[in-house]
């Protein structure tokens, strides 16, 4: 099969689109025509015998070819213009035969070696038509050369284009990778290119049979991307999918998957709400779309939907892709896909020599920033003002001034961390394996806190028969962490706030050897007492595995079945040591033991049909997916321990002793059709029907459709002729995803058990009461409609790539935990709010580049920035959610209401300090002359306008340097820690900022007067505590060195590299607290940007080594 075409480019650019399309169609038809002709170029007789009447010239050419073996080059348009011919030739020479044939036709011909080029006569030339490029050349000088194009694995490349440099002569390869092309001289240079491969220029010289190998372009577009129920080449993707680079994981002290995702992709915001070792991250894909359905994306690991990914040792990750729009996520339809889907592929064995990888690192962390607080002298002065202004006797602290305890220094420490990962993998023709073990140990920067994880993974794949493949993957982990109390109640609970508000004069221990209470300090905890009083250990034993079977059926159909199991045993226990605090001693110790066993199995079955019909490429998937998730929890709590015993066996007074369970299941059917025509016009459509036990009997099921279209302009000739774009694709998609409530039984009216009562004061009697939650049998799915349009392009030989997306995502039928009138005796009911919606809309830009790429030095870089706007609309006032509680004031900071972003800050607008009175002034928004609760308004949004990441990898000879920067812009943080540190209304320690407080009339200060009890409400929730939360963080810098290859060979290893890194070296921010991205609300959608005594973040330095055997 030989495909050759001639192009004329000089006039095309001015053509209208219709003309282009027409041309495309014509040209397509031409290629099809030629493709259908079997051409054999073997030597034949030079004479021809033909007898035809009123036959098309094409047929004549075919006959000539058959007899002579000469190939024909022509434009099918020219042939269409030609009339039919009638000939009767008997054994005439070829030349004569052609002359006879083309007599009276607007055509002429040239023979170059064994190729006959047929073209229009000059005077017939027409602007609209394709002309032969050879008109100015003396045709007799042409010779035909042949060649063969393969990839690096010697696989022929079908459809690679071969152009003669400086001319418009072009051909493409056939299925065997072969081509023929006419050249004018041996100086000619061939340009060989193929989508996804690096183009090459080949001087022809005197070669006649060129063997050309194209290397796969190292570009994103060529990557195989894991998508829902399958894989797809990046170039064919029509939805919004981000592939996250993971190559830096091996050189960074990363213990959790989400950490590896930070700053890596547009539309993916990773929040680390606290600095607690092993602490949970929050991953947001295109903002928060649901209030009650949660904000976390759906995680799919190796095809199995899992409830969390903390079991994964990041070192075992091969790829992470994030399905962002509904067209990509739609095949997962439900169960959180509204929040995007994170697909993780873990490493599997590969064919070839077995390899062993070892990675080890060690590092040290420390508090990134210390907050300055008052010393005893300064505090004494403050206490005087607080008491005097409040009409209180001045507390006398003189007897305690011998103490000078810097609680921050006492609570925080330099903490080591280390990690080891060992893996081995290999494979033969039929099977492969991967085995890895890992150990992470991270001490927290707060005393006693730590996190340890032991993990192991074994994955095998075996071709059982030529048509059946079996695989299994088993992961085990054990994590043990010691927790310290932070968050929640600020100073009344949590060492972080206590370490700031406890006066330095406070003694560490009292005369009984207990951690002392802080004298005169309004309930401030002794931070050490708070930490040592309650020793909490969390242990998780988790087993995650799947078995998968793949059968190749006739007719190009593949059946795949994956059975996945997740088993987590979580134990949280605590012991309040009676030797540590008075409180614990008074009850002779108290302990608790809480367990949760989670078992989840998933069973996914898919049939996949993949077929190429010439230029039509079809992939069709149908399948079903079943999940059953059950948990059983138990809680035991007791006090009065026998001296020295720390387990519940030694306790005598029981407080809690119960078990409970929870289960849900879902069943889904889905189908997806992907189609492309020549990789140029791409379309995909999916439909999923999802059923969940969590909904009312009438509304268990819902349909989730999605469609997407793509157009690879770079495959169009008129773009190719620009010779600028290596890739250019437009994408558009629409789809629907769903979400469920987090509660398993919202549709049932239930009676709660455990409302017991001790009638005789000793034994409890069983009691039931109406549950707080009223059942709603009509509850239905939450729907998110999402539109996406995007563009992908690559230029400069794939050295620069650019992707942009615009999206609009609206969640309807919001599932809301609606407050009922309490007079009904119940509190809440899950309802759908049909009119209200949450919208996230935004644009995303990603730039990938290799600014420098030469033998010794390369620099590759990715910059991504995402803009998202979140807004809640049409929510009635009765459904407003207040959240973010500050116990000190018994007030809330956050509101979710119509017209504003989820979890916006709500309070008074501060107008600074009245220089006369020293009290805060607030805006009287309703102009009624009184500052009251009606003067509260939304004062800011915790959600950033933009977030970005900038990653760079430099390599110079054997050195490499990784730099990762990320940040957010345009969000507000409610600094409740500052509220407690500038309260000046009780006897706690305060920030050194209060040294500049208002003291006397006409003082100009931003801080009000100190006064006991805050009678004028200076501390009320107001814009006074809102700060700009924008930051830019140098998240990671790693310098690496690879031992020279020669040396490695000498010591008989494949490779050794050493690296040293710095994490969180600096944060550029105006924020005055520990860190602008702390959030006491963790992953809550209705409390964000809320800094209230959250475990602060650390900076660290690490060194490590990678060894490959």
């Amino acid at each position: 099969m030989l495909l050759i075409a001639y192009y004329a480019t000089n006039r095309l650019q001015s053509w209208s689109l219709t003309k282009k399309l027409l041309l495309i169609m014509k040209f397509t038809a031409f290629i099809l025509l030629v493709a259908c002709m079997q051409v054999s170029a073997r030597g034949r007789a030079q004479n021809v015998s033909i007898s035809v009447s009123n036959t098309s010239i094409k047929k004549v050419f075919q006959e000539v070819k058959k007899q002579t073996g000469y190939d024909f080059f022509y434009d099918k348009n020219d042939l269409q213009r030609a009339g039919t011919v009638s000939l009767k030739l008997n054994n005439v020479p070829l030349d004569e035969a052609l002359r006879q044939c083309l007599k009276n036709q607007p055509l002429t011909y040239t023979i170059i070696e064994k190729t006959i080029i047929v073209r229009k006569k000059e005077d017939e030339k027409n602007d609209d038509e394709v002309t032969l490029p050879l008109n100015s050349q003396p045709v007799t000088n042409y010779s035909i050369i042949t060649g063969h194009v393969t990839d690096s694995k010697n696989k022929p490349l079908n459809g690679a284009s071969v152009t003669i440099k400086g001319s418009q002569v072009m051909t493409s390869t056939d299925a065997a990778g072969s081509f023929k092309i006419p050249i004018a001289s041996s100086d000619a240079v061939l340009v060989v290119s193929y989508v996804g491969y690096t183009s090459r220029e080949i001087p022809v010289k005197n070669n006649n049979d060129l063997q050309i190998v194209l290397q796969e372009a190292n570009s994103e577009m060529n990557q195989v991307v894991v998508i829902g129920y399958g894989t797809q080449k990046a170039k064919d993707i029509t939805s919004a999918v981000s592939t996250l680079p993971v190559s830096d994981i091996k050189n960074r002290p990363i213990s959790l998957v989400a950490d590896a995702m930070m700053g890596k992709a547009t539309g993916v915001q990773v929040l680390q709400p606290s600095g607690k070792p092993g602490g949970d991250f929050t991953v947001l894909v295109r903002g928060m779309s649901s209030v009650t359905g949660g904000s976390q994306p759906l995680y799919v690991v190796d095809g199995v939907i899992v409830s969390n990914v903390s079991y994964i040792d990041p070192a075992n990750i091969e790829s992470i892709s994030v399905l962002k729009d509904a067209a990509a996520a739609g095949i997962y339809g439900a169960a959180g896909s509204t929040n995007g889907v994170v697909l993780i592929k873990t490493k599997q064995g590969v064919k070839g020599k077995a390899r062993v990888d070892a990675n080890v690192y060690y590092g040290q962390q420390q508090l990134a920033k210390k907050l300055p607080v008052l010393n005893n002298t300064q505090l004494k002065d403050l206490l005087h003002d607080v008491a005097t202004n409040g009409g209180q006797p001045v507390p006398d602290i003189s007897q305690y001034l011998g103490n000078n305890n810097d609680w921050q220094d006492l609570v925080y420490r330099k903490a080591p961390m280390m990690g080891v990962n060992l893996s081995t993998s290999g494979g033969g023709e039929k099977g492969n394996f991967y085995a890895g073990i890992g150990y992470v140990s991270q001490s927290g920067i707060a005393i006693t806190s730590d996190y340890k994880r032991y993990s192991a993974k074994l994955a095998v794949d075996q071709e059982v028969t030529s048509w059946m493949k079996f695989g299994a993957d088993v992961n085990y982990r054990r994590t043990v962490s010691h927790d310290v109390p932070d968050n929640n109640n600020g100073r009344f609970g949590g060492f972080v706030a206590a370490a700031l508000t406890a006066p330095m004069y406070g003694p560490i221990k009292d005369s009984n050897g207990y951690y002392a209470s802080i004298p005169l300090s309004s309930g401030i905890l002794n931070p050490l007492g708070d930490i040592y009083q309650r020793n909490t250990v969390n242990t998780v034993n988790g087993l995650m595995g799947n078995a998968n079977l793949q059968i190749n059926l006739p007719l190009s159909i593949t059946y795949k079945s994956i059975f996945g199991v997740q088993l987590d045993n979580m134990v949280s226990s605590y012991f309040m040591d009676p030797t540590k605090t008075t409180q614990a001693a008074s009850i002779n110790g108290q302990g608790g033991y809480f367990t949760t066993e989670l078992i989840r199995y998933t069973w996914d079955n898919t049939l996949n049909y993949s077929k190429r019909f010439n230029d039509h490429n079809i992939n069709f998937v149908v399948g079903s997916s079943y999940i059953k998730n059950s948990t059983v929890s138990s809680a035991q709590e007791a006090r009065n321990f026998v001296n020295g015993v720390t387990r519940l066996a030694g306790a005598s007074t029981w407080m809690t002793n119960s078990t409970s369970s929870d289960a849900w299941q879902s069943m889904s059917y889905f189908g997806r059709l992907q189609y492309d025509y020549k990789g140029k016009y791409l379309a995909s459509a999916s439909l999923r029907q999802d059923g969940s036990s969590r909904f009312g009997i009438n509304n268990k099921h819902a349909l989730f459709p999605a469609v997407s279209l793509g157009w690879r302009l770079s495959s169009e000739s008129f773009i190719q002729r620009l010779n600028f774009f290596d890739d250019l694709k437009l994408r558009a998609s629409w789809g629907v995803t769903g979400n469920t409530p987090t509660n398993s039984y919202p549709s049932y009216s239930q009676l709660s058990v455990g409302a017991n009562y001790p009638y005789d004061g000793s034994a409890m009697s069983n009691g039931v009461v109406l549950s707080n939650l009223a059942g709603n049998p009509d509850l239905k799915w939450e729907h998110t409609n999402q539109y996406n349009i995007g563009i992908d392009l690559a230029i400069f030989n794939h050295r620069l790539g650019f992707t942009a997306d615009y999206y609009n995502k609206r969640t309807h039928d919001l599932i809301f935990l609606r407050s009922l009138p309490l007079s009904t005796g119940q509190s809440y009911k899950y309802v759908n709010i049909p009119d209200a919606y949450i919208q996230n809309s935004g644009i995303e830009f990603s730039l990938n580049g290799k600014p420098v790429e030469n033998k010794n030095f390369t620099w590759s870089s990715n910059f991504n920035v995402s803009f998202n706007k979140n807004i809640v609309q049409n929510l009635s006032d009765a459904d407003i959610i207040y959240d973010g509680s500050i116990l000190l004031l018994n007030a809330t900071t956050s509101i979710t209401k119509s017209g504003y972003a989820l979890g916006s800050f709500y309070g008074y607008v501060s107008n600074g300090v009245d220089p006369k009175t020293g009290d805060m002034k607030f805006q009287d928004l309703d102009h009624n002359g009184v500052i009251d609760s009606k003067d509260r308004t939304v004062i800011g949004s915790p959600q950033p306008k933009a977030y970005y990441g900038f990653s760079n990898e430099f390599s110079y000879k054997n050195f490499s340097l990784n730099v990762l920067i990320d940040g957010v812009q345009g969000n507000k943080v409610f600094n409740a820690t500052k509220l407690e540190l500038t309260y000046m209304s009780d006897y706690s320690n305060q920030s050194t900022d209060v040294l500049g407080r208002w003291k006397q009339s006409n003082d100009a200060s931003s801080l009000p007067r100190a006064v006991y009890g805050d009678p004028t409400g200076n501390a009320r929730i107001s814009s006074r505590y809102l700060e700009d939360g924008s930051f830019l963080r140098l998240r990671n810098v790693t310098l690496g060195y690879n031992l020279p290859k020669a040396f490695c060979e000498k010591i008989k290893v494949s490779g050794v590299s050493f690296y040293g890194g710095l994490q969180n070296l600096f944060v550029l921010t105006k924020y005055s607290g520990y860190s602008p991205d702390l959030n006491a609300g963790n992953s809550s959608t209705t409390v964000q940007g809320f800094d209230l005594g959250t475990y602060p973040k650390y900076k660290s330095v690490t060194v490590g080594a990678n060894i490959q055997l």
């Binding site: 006797p393 507390p395 048509w467 059946m468 005169l520 309004s522 059968i551 190749n552 059926l553 006739p554 079945s561 409180q583 008074s586 009850i587 079955n605 898919t606 049939l607 079903s624 079943y626 409970s660 369970s661 929870d662 849900w664 299941q665 059917y669 059923g691 268990k700 398993s744 039984y745 049932y748 239930q750 009676l751 058990v753 409302a755 017991n756 009562y757 009638y759 005789d760 004061g761 000793s762 409890m764 009697s765 009691g767 039931v768 009461v769 109406l770 549950s771 407050s819 009138p821 309490l822 007079s823 009904t824 005796g825 509190s827 009765a878 407003i880 007030a891 009251d932 609760s933 009890g1013």
Partner: protein, 509 residues
């Protein structure tokens, strides 16, 4: 490639067909196995729960549980801090909620004591309604008529108890008498209608409840006929229906107090024994809430007793006895009840609550629990006791011009406190003497504010509150500038107004 595939196809044809069958059947049959039906098994479905006697009993027990569970803050301590609105106690700590309650500076929104009282009373009412809605459908022979009556009586008693608290706190409230009332956005009924409902419930309960229960050694924790009568007496009294009140008092009181009661109630010999946590189930208590350390304890003592007497070093206290109350004990020469109800400590390590002078020993509430027991004390809370009814009868008699007999009753109470009898003067003097006696006897039992209102109406109550002085004898009147007659009622919580558009706010808010 093609030929390779064909080879595969031939060798695997049979398996291939099998694979098809397997694949397709697994794909589509799987759904048939799953009805997506998951029901909770850590709770019970309301619809099919009430089948036997035991199920009704658990719902009755659930109704009691609201009185003292740690999730029910109103009955745990909200009931007590309400006293801070009277002239008996101050807000004593750094709790803005209580300080604002003390000053009648109650914002409608986001003000927890007001929200909690509403919520907890209605949760309790919901539980009572649950019993009353479902008991009729139970045909279990084990549910004898006596038991059926008892359960109905208990539920009605508790429902009346909650509504009595609601109507005193908020005025007229939505009258919800069934869990399946389709009108979830109920309008407020008038206070009179609420009282009428309370009376109807109590009259029915009075007829259905037993006089006593076996095995109540731990305390009088279950509603009895006497409890219904005593509560009804209080309900009548609050409406100033003195003759009805008198009748009900007489049903409770034994002969020695001029009553006809046969349940065996009497005054306990030693006043302190009522509250020392070692004499539960005594003859004087009519209805009390049980606590059990650990799983059903109360943390109220920790909120009231001084740091030096508890293991707790951090909390400032919620309420502190007022100078007015202390002076009342001193003026009466009442050392017995003074000692039981109030304890003084020289507090140096806590911030001084404002009404106390610099070197003044700080008074603490000593009556409501003396053992913190790790914030889970087993101290019971007395809701109804005989002394209350004795004094109520005295009040009713005095109001019905039987002043002489009234004084005899007062003196019986004073006798226990080692106080000299009072002598009959005018009816109004005796009324004042009864009010004062109630104050000394019933301090920190959530009674004072309503006694004042009953005695003298709103303005008298306001004046009494404003007459308070601090430790240096300065007037505290200016702190109560917000206090008007309207503010003697709580506002309807804004949260409730938000979700129930048919509700109206109380005047003055």
């Amino acid at each position: 490639m093609k030929s390779e595939y064909l080879t595969k196809y031939k060798t695997s044809k049979a398996w291939g067909m099998f694979g098809y069958a397997l694949g397709i059947s697994l794909l589509f049959l799987l759904g048939g196995c799953s009805k997506l039906d998951e029901k909770p098994d850590s709770s019970v479905l309301t619809g099919n729960y009430f089948t036997n006697r035991a199920s009704v009993e658990t719902a009755v027990t659930g109704a009691y549980s609201w009185l003292g569970s740690t999730s029910t803050q109103h009955y745990l301590w909200g009931y007590l801090i309400d006293d801070s609105r009277s002239d008996d106690s101050y807000s004593a700590g750094n709790s803005k909620e209580i300080t604002n309650l003390e000053y009648f500076n109650m914002a409608t929104d986001n003000f927890e004591p007001i929200f909690r009282a509403w919520s907890d009373c209605y949760k309790g009412i919901g539980s009572c309604n649950l019993v009353l809605d479902n008991i009729g459908q139970v045909t279990d022979p084990a549910l004898t008529d006596a038991l059926r009556n008892q359960y109905i009586g208990e539920a009605k008693f508790l429902r009346a108890f909650h509504y009595f608290n609601l109507v005193r706190l908020y005025g007229g409230v939505p009258l919800v008498l069934s869990t399946v009332d389709p009108d979830i956005n109920k309008k407020r009924s008038s206070a009179d209608d609420v009282y009428a409902s309370i009376q109807a419930d109590l009259m029915d309960a009075e007829n259905k409840l037993p006089v006593t229960y076996p095995n109540m050694t731990g305390g009088h924790s279950k509603a009895t006929q006497g409890a219904a009568q005593a509560l009804l007496a209080k309900v009548y009294a609050q409406q100033l229906k003195w003759q009805d009140c008198l009748n009900e008092c007489n049903k409770v009181l034994p002969g020695k107090f001029g009553g006809t009661g046969t349940a065996g109630y009497d005054l306990l010999a030693a006043y302190d024994n009522l509250f020392d946590n070692h004499h539960w189930g005594n003859v004087e208590t009519i209805f009390e809430v049980m606590h059990q350390s650990g799983s059903y304890g109360t943390f109220a003592p920790g909120l009231l007793i001084p740091n030096g007497l508890t293991d707790d070093q951090t909390w400032t206290k919620f309420i502190a006895p007022s100078h007015s109350l202390i002076n009342a004990y001193k003026n009466a020469g009442d050392t017995v009840r003074f000692k039981t109800n109030i304890i003084f400590q020289n507090v140096t390590t806590a911030a001084h609550p404002w009404p106390f002078a610099a070197n003044e020993a700080i008074p603490f509430v000593w009556k409501c629990g003396r053992e913190l027991q790790g914030w889970s004390s087993n101290q019971n809370t007395i809701f109804l006791r005989l002394a209350d009814i004795v004094l109520l009868k005295a009040e009713a008699m005095n109001q019905t011009s039987q002043t002489t007999q009234a004084v005899l009753l007062v003196n019986q109470i004073r006798n226990r406190a080692n106080l000299a009898p009072i002598v009959v003067t005018s009816q109004s003097d005796v009324a004042l003497a009864i009010l004062n006696e109630r104050r000394l006897e019933m301090a920190f039992e959530g009674d004072r504010l309503y006694s004042l209102i009953r005695f003298g109406g709103a303005q008298y109550t306001i004046d009494a509150i404003k007459q308070q002085k601090d430790g240096s004898n300065n007037s505290l009147a200016s702190f109560y500038n917000l206090l008007t007659a309207d503010r003697l009622l709580y506002p309807i919580p804004q949260k409730e107004l938000d979700v129930n558009k048919n509700l109206t706010q109380n005047p003055g808010y």
